[in-house]
């Protein structure tokens, strides 16, 4: 009986600890970002300061553009590649698992220089090279999300069924595979987006300016403004996650409605 009571308490205690662990730093940072010049008085001064920075929207736009580029590349290259591995080259999956782990192992400096030299020259002088780099950096996570998604469905059978019914490879991927593994695709795209929006080291090494590098430079001028920027970035990421979750849930509930 006492054991059961202990076990019953374990869940709420763990949950509360987790919530505190996650929300306390964020709450504290939020509270601090509203302080007026470091005093106990609260105001929106730091956020007004952010909006007053003329480069704020510019660098935010740059980061979003590059992140969307990375998302697009992931969608166009990663989804068909992982599908192809599952359908036609199962024996190469262990090799692919190893290769996709390399971005975590190889130092960013080596990765930046190595990956840059592998890109076409025209791309090396364009900021869009970062989109390709972000795809490489996100690969350990995106590959696994897609791999798990595709392992969970009878991919070969439904693809063959689609092909037999007249679907080309592109149509089979667009109309059958991608919708069936929608959650895995959305998850991998979100991972790419989140990583791209926050990436600093590689961007800085390649001498490009994006939102994270801009935040670093302006944080030296205004410490509360820098905290406000971090809170803003985090809130934006949360909002994005929430929006994607909402879209996914709505698609699911639409499907369930249709079933009734």
């Amino acid at each position: 009986m006492a054991n059961m009571r202990k076990r019953g308490l374990l869940v709420p205690i763990t949950l509360t600890a987790c919530i505190i662990f996650i929300t306390l730093p964020f709450g504290s940072a939020t509270e601090f970002s509203f302080r007026d010049g470091g005093k106990t008085k609260h105001s929106l001064a730091a956020y007004r300061w952010i909006l007053a920075q003329e480069d704020f929207l510019h660098y935010l736009g740059v980061s979003f553009r590059l992140a969307l580029g990375a998302v697009l590349i992931t969608l166009v290259i990663m989804v068909p590649t992982v599908a192809w591995l599952h359908l036609k080259a199962q024996r190469f999956r262990p090799l692919m698992e190893f290769l996709t782990l390399l971005p975590l192992v190889v130092p960013v400096v080596a990765l930046a220089i190595g990956a840059q030299s592998a890109l076409p020259e025209a791309l090396q002088s364009s900021e869009y090279e970062l989109s390709f780099m972000y795809v490489v950096l996100a690969m350990p996570y995106t590959y696994r999300a897609l791999d798990i998604g595709m392992s969970a469905i009878p991919l070969k059978t439904i693809t063959e069924a689609a092909r037999g019914l007249g679907a080309s490879w592109i149509k089979a991927i667009t109309f059958v595979i991608a919708p069936v593994i929608r959650n895995a695709v959305v998850g991998s795209l979100f991972l790419t987006l989140a990583l791209s929006l926050g990436e600093f080291t590689l961007t800085s090494l390649l001498h490009w300016d994006t939102f994270p590098t801009w935040v670093t430079s302006v944080s030296q001028q205004n410490i509360i403004g820098a905290i406000a920027l971090s809170v803003f970035s985090l809130a934006a990421a949360f909002f994005l996650l929430f929006a994607i979750g909402l879209v996914t849930m709505r698609s699911k509930s639409d499907a369930t409605e249709g079933q009734k």
């Binding site: 469905i153 009878p154 059978t157 439904i158 063959e160 069924a161 689609a162 092909r163 037999g164 019914l165 007249g166 679907a167 080309s168 149509k171 109309f175 059958v176 919708p179 069936v180 929608r182 499907a255 249709g258 079933q259 009734k260």
Partner: protein
């Protein structure tokens, strides 16, 4: 629906060292249902997948209406396929699944949904049109898969063990439904199965495969009564294999001298293949040659297993009427019907 001639000409396929198909030749007439029957790994599914364009060949050709389709990709062959595993698209409801092939053919939405509803009605699922695959039973899913394969008005319908995942009652019902639909639509059909009852009950002809080769292709009657090889004889239906002695087309077995069809076997010891229903059990003759071991009541018929004096075990299938007095241990006389006795090498 269209009916087409399907020809498989000299198809061979190896997977590494394994020969999956060895010079397979089959010609299926328009509107005919041919089953490929054989044990696991005999190459029947490989043959079907090659016809569907899902597998490549090492040599040979697939002809549809005389046109070589060997190099044509699966999506351009116009063949409807029903798979063993449930293959419905989980993100689409039953109606959308059936309409998928028409969508790929750019049929306007209204037309394709109308056609899908018609086909769902044909397979008895018109009330389940809005249900998703996970809300349907196994049998219902296969019905939807069948409707989906037929929706594109295929030149050939390919069935890859579509009933094997279903329970016995559903399997029997769906089997009859497939045949009914196939006959009414006149679709040329190739049906792969390892279940001989399934193959024999609904096919116009059955091809028995073994080790990548076609042993015999014939009507179910002919296959059962006149098997061309010892493998076909033992794979299709039950068969007693008794020791005998061959001498100039006369084989001596159980003390009987029976003339057999012309064959290439040398005189001497042979195996004699006899169907259980060709063995009669006679009681109280005074010339008994066997002892009853078990009697199993199967309804209209009974299976009686007997042991000869030399220890050979023989199975007999006889009408149940009149066998009620037979008990294990009873002495009986076994007599072989002289028709359709086959001999094979020892």
């Amino acid at each position: 629906m269209s009916s087409a001639t399907l020809e498989i000409q000299g198809i061979s396929r190896r997977f590494g060292e394994v020969v999956a198909l060895d010079e397979l030749n089959i010609k299926i007439k328009p509107g005919e249902l041919v089953a490929l029957l054989g044990p696991s790994g005999c190459g029947k599914t490989t043959a079907l997948r090659i016809v569907a364009g899902l597998e490549s060949t090492d040599s040979g050709h697939v002809l549809l209406r005389g046109k070589d389709m060997t190099e044509v990709s699966a999506n351009h062959r116009n063949m409807g396929m029903v798979f063993q595993a449930y293959s419905l698209f989980p993100n689409l409801n039953a109606e959308e699944n059936v309409a998928f092939g028409l969508q790929m053919r750019k049929v306007p939405k209204l037309n394709r949904l109308t056609k899908a509803r018609e086909l769902l009605e044909v397979v008895g699922l018109n009330t389940q049109a809005k249900r998703f695959p996970h809300q349907l039973s196994g049998g219902q899913q296969q019905r939807v898969a069948l409707a989906r394969a037929l929706a594109i008005e295929p030149d050939v319908l390919l069935l890859d063990e579509p009933l094997s995942a279903l329970d016995a009652q559903v399997r029997a019902n769906l089997r009859e439904e497939i045949r009914r639909l196939q006959l009414s639509l006149g679709t040329t059909t190739l049906f792969v199965t390892h279940d001989q009852e399934e193959a024999m009950s609904i096919s116009d002809r059955v091809g028995v495969m073994n080790n990548g080769r076609l042993e015999q292709i014939a009507s179910p009657d002919e296959l059962y009564n006149k098997p061309a090889t010892a493998f076909v004889a033992s794979f299709v239906g039950l068969m007693n294999r008794l020791p005998g002695v061959l001498n100039s087309q006369i084989v001596e077995v159980l003390g009987q001298r029976i003339s057999v069809a012309e064959n290439d076997l040398a005189n001497g010891a042979v195996k004699v293949l006899i169907r259980p229903e060709r063995v009669s059990v006679i009681q109280k003759t005074g010339e008994n040659n066997a002892k009853v071991i078990t009697r199993s009541f199967l309804g209209a018929s009974s299976r009686i297993i007997c042991e000869m004096r030399d220890g050979t075990v023989i199975q007999s299938l006889v009408a149940s009427a009149g066998t009620g007095s037979l008990n294990p241990g009873d002495e009986v006389k076994l007599v072989i019907d002289e028709h359709d006795v086959l001999v094979a090498n020892v």
